[in-house]
Symmetry: D2
Subunit: 133 residues, 4 copies
């Protein structure tokens, strides 16, 4: 599990007084940086090799301005060339948002998916959760 | 069906040269304004009565900087208090992104869901699609 | 003068009920697309030749959710290699925000500023305003 | 001086491979949270008493994806009802962006500026810098 602490910005809060739904994919993306590092240790875009295929976000409880948020990031599925990341946003003791993102190991030059290398597969397995909240 | 034309901004494009995934929920939110008007004709936050419960986004093809994007918005399901919005982002002749958002008619004071009024139900039915892309 | 109409998104509105200050640079950027086209007709990033050096934004009046916003874009100064864009956000009859952005014609390979070509200089002069609001 | 560490997100990077200019006002806003706390210790919007009047941002050097950014925040001027915040974004040993934001202590009900209370004035003075980078 990876943990990232995010401080809400004034402008993340919408007219209803809680974090707007459109903010979450950005927080989840930020929290996936360690996973992006597996595939792109130098964070260079020239040879970037991941593509985001899909995400789902469930808004379970409201997030507010006055407290930091912890984003917890897990690997929830490892396929041949694709994998799934499960993420949770917690504020205080409360699970507020859940996300599930499907990423594909991808060769942009040949425009096709590529099998996940074995060494990355091993590293990802250490962060794998079978069940889920 | 509602149609909204969006012009990509320079900053919507990420290091891979296409519209970043985190941009889409904002475009889809903007395109749902006509539906928000059903429930909140004056767009005031004091008595706002909708809450977003969940969304899913599928990234089918890449969106680029050099061409406007059309967001098409449909109602895809009408329940007792909740409903589902199906959305598509098209660039040129190409379907690039699909979204599905679940919204709930909600009483924030009493913190509970409320049945969708009949007149709104009728209006929504006019934008209903049964199948889907 | 260039005119762009922007529809505020739900999430553009912050906890005070008006468009958050951080939204404006994005709207202004979007409205500068026609100017970016002078220098980069095909909107490709490989040979992009503009760099943003500075901007200032003045928040004169609040912008609200319930009405479209018109962004008016002018050229306010033309130098040897740099130029200035003056922009205004109007809602209804009201001037709400003013922006001033300095851009430089730039060679990224050689990392140095380059004189603005004469044909672009002529086109820009057509959108030049001398005074200002 | 206040220090905040920000981790760039994949989507903060634009087609030129560096942090897009529109990202900075959000990072600077986030880094001003400790100053907002002076005036609004509970971070509630009902009695919020600050309004942002103006900002300027200077882009001195490019910010990249692969390294955290430190935002340094100072008070640079204290007036009767308004004050100025000077901010800097550093990546590694390099000053990359500078910001200057004018905020006004404001009574939203009466729609007028209000003198900054003496106790806040004292606290702010501890973070005051006279010169500037």
């Amino acid at each position: 599990m990876y943990s990232l602490t995010v401080t809400p910005k004034f402008g993340d809060i919408d007219g209803l007084g809680h974090v707007n739904n459109t903010v979450m994919p950005g927080w989840f993306e930020q929290a996936r940086n360690p996973i992006y590092r597996y595939f792109n240790p130098e964070f260079k875009f020239d040879n970037w090799n991941l593509i985001l295929a899909r995400y789902e976000v469930d808004f379970v409880a409201q997030l507010y301005f006055d407290q930091d948020v912890e984003i917890r990031t897990f690997i929830s599925k490892i396929g041949r060339s694709s994998f799934e990341v499960h993420q949770e946003a917690w504020q205080g003791e409360k699970l507020c948002t859940k996300g599930r993102t499907v990423l594909v190991h991808f060769d942009f030059n040949e425009q096709r998916s590529v099998a996940i290398p074995d060494d990355i597969r091993v590293t990802m397995a250490e962060h794998l959760v079978s069940g889920e909240n």
